[in-house]
Amino acid sequence: MDAIGGNGAMIATLLDAAARRQRVLAANIANVDTPGYKAKTLEFPAELEKAMLDGSVPEGAVKGLETVERDTPMKANGNTVDVDLELAEMGKTSMAFQTLLAVSQMKQAQMRAAITGRG
């Protein structure tokens, strides 16, 4: 058990994943008018999603994730970026990031309460 509860490392790993995903999506939007640019995303493989539900994500599991090209329709200049889709994905990822932060904060509060004996 580490300092902020059993799943502290897992939360850090997932925060990292969310941040990496935002970076990939930000690059998509920046390249919206670049001819031939293929939109990419960071996908979580099924095993990792299962591990998340079990709360047993191994440390460093996210580092090995590869970005994959997304299967969105191509525009005339060979570019596959869909700004609305990217912004929606970024919004979702941002919500996930903030949820993880909230969980982390709750864990910290619990730990503080345990140490001081005051809620």
């Binding site: 925060l15 970076r23 939007i29 670049t34 932060l101």
Partner: protein
Amino acid sequence: MSIDGLFGGMSVSASGMAAQRARMNVIAANIAHAQDTDRGDGKAYVRKEVVFETVLDEAGKELVRVSDVAEDVRTPMERIHAPGHPDADKDGYVTMPNVSPVFEMTDLVSASRSYEANLQVSRMLKDMAERALELGR
């Protein structure tokens, strides 16, 4: 690590904003030169167009930059009959720039929207980084 990832995203958005601003500058020049029948060498102004390309920085981030500002030689130049014009040829025709104000304006709106999308992303990432920094409080 997470903070680094978020700031990395912000530099990608910044590159997008810079590229779109360069595109807007070129559009502004096209509109300004819409009636320019002599660009200095006796020929009419030819509209320009930016070309974007993806560049990888040392951290593997996919930044965007303007690789070229190319002359649009495919859109035909318009020739109007104006015998009194100083730049008219011997038949009284003047070659006008191939700038269409309507096209430039729609392109300007498109560039502006892309700029705003990058700005929105930048704000979102800043917001996330700020919240992550609040964790220690």
